[in-house]
Amino acid sequence: MHNNVVDRSKDVTILELLDRVLNKGVVLTGDVVVSVADIDLVYLGVKLMLCSVETMNQLKSGKSLEKESNI
């Protein structure tokens, strides 16, 4: 019973960490932010770009399209 609580605490810590490091923080150029009157409306993140490049590379090498991450 105690083990369960400790494991879940660890899980939550790791998941909170991953949510931050993968989805937040400073993002480099390559983002597309569509804004109207200085109000940001639509965000296309860098990760979307990374996906496309990877997909393209896989297509070039003739490999079948595989899932790109193992999280």
């Binding site: 939550v12 810590t13 790791i14 909170e16 960490l17 991953l18 931050r20 490091v21 993968l22 989805n23 937040k24 923080g25 400073v26 993002v27 480099l28 150029t29 932010v33 860098v46 990760k47 990374l50 790109e68 991450s69 193992n70 999280i71």
Partner: protein, 251 residues
């Protein structure tokens, strides 16, 4: 060979403190960490092959650990995982282009830490509680004033209106909880950001930025809130590097 950036730091004067720290740490794939300097701000970098950049759990956690080690000693802005640039020159140029904003942002987070508060509710209980309140006045508006048969369309509107009023009542409640939290945290000089109902069970997802020595006061505030809102569950995590308080848009 690309360069991976972990964080952007501000360093007060030329001391060997940073280099000493970097010497004790290892980057992704065991690469060594080094600093790219532009006046008072520094990017912490390691060399990486693009093919090594697999987004798997252990790499991301390793990356975050480095940021965690750095934040103990320097004001910093954490980079999102996957921040690559082609060369140290490109990095220095990027720092230069964004110098003013980065400095401002770094000043804002100096000696601060981020904390996350998630507040959970039971959506069914919440709905039944607020349904009871708005039940009485539901019929007033859409009862036909003359002899009109009760059509399927009228019934549709009636149901939608019920839903709508329920949502509004719940949102009013959520706003009141957020107002209460903001008030309490203003006394701690904290910056707050809130997300309302990001999921059915998470009623509020909040992040706070406050001085690192205010941790105990924050705990007391959350404890008081727990006593005030007995039907809700609170989970507070932290301290974190300021991931949610980087407001610099990199040009």
């Amino acid at each position: 060979m690309d360069k991976m950036i972990y964080a952007i730091l501000s360093v007060k004067k030329k001391s060997g403190k940073l280099d000493a720290l970097l010497a004790t740490l290892k980057g992704i794939s065991g690469a060594s960490l080094y600093a790219v300097v532009y006046e008072g701000i520094i990017a912490v970098v390691s060399d990486i092959e693009k093919s090594d950049l697999i987004t798997d759990r252990s790499n991301a956690i390793e990356y975050a650990s480095i940021i965690e080690s750095l934040v103990q000693q320097f004001p910093l802005l954490p980079m999102c995982y996957g921040s690559l640039m082609e060369s140290t020159d490109a990095i220095a140029e990027m720092l230069g282009r964004n110098y003013t904003e980065l400095r401002q942002n770094l000043k804002k987070v100096e000696n601060m830490r981020e904390y996350g508060l998630k507040i959970f509710c039971d959506p069914e209980k919440l709905k039944s509680e607020f349904q009871a309140i708005s039940k009485n006045d539901i019929n007033i508006l859409i009862e036909p004033s003359t002899e009109v048969k009760n059509s399927v369309y009228r019934e549709y509107v009636r149901n939608k209106l019920k839903e709508h009023r329920l949502e509004e009542s719940i949102m009013t409640y959520v706003n009141s909880v957020i107002a209460e939290i903001s008030g309490c945290l203003a006394r701690l000089n904290a910056v707050c950001k809130f997300k309302k109902m990001p999921s059915a069970t998470i009623m509020v997802d909040a992040v706070f930025l406050l001085r690192k020595d205010k941790k105990d006061e924050l705990l007391k505030v959350v404890n008081d809130l727990k006593n005030q809102y007995q039907k809700l569950n609170f989970v507070l995590t932290g301290p974190w590097p300021p991931y949610n308080f980087v407001d610099t848009r990199i040009k």
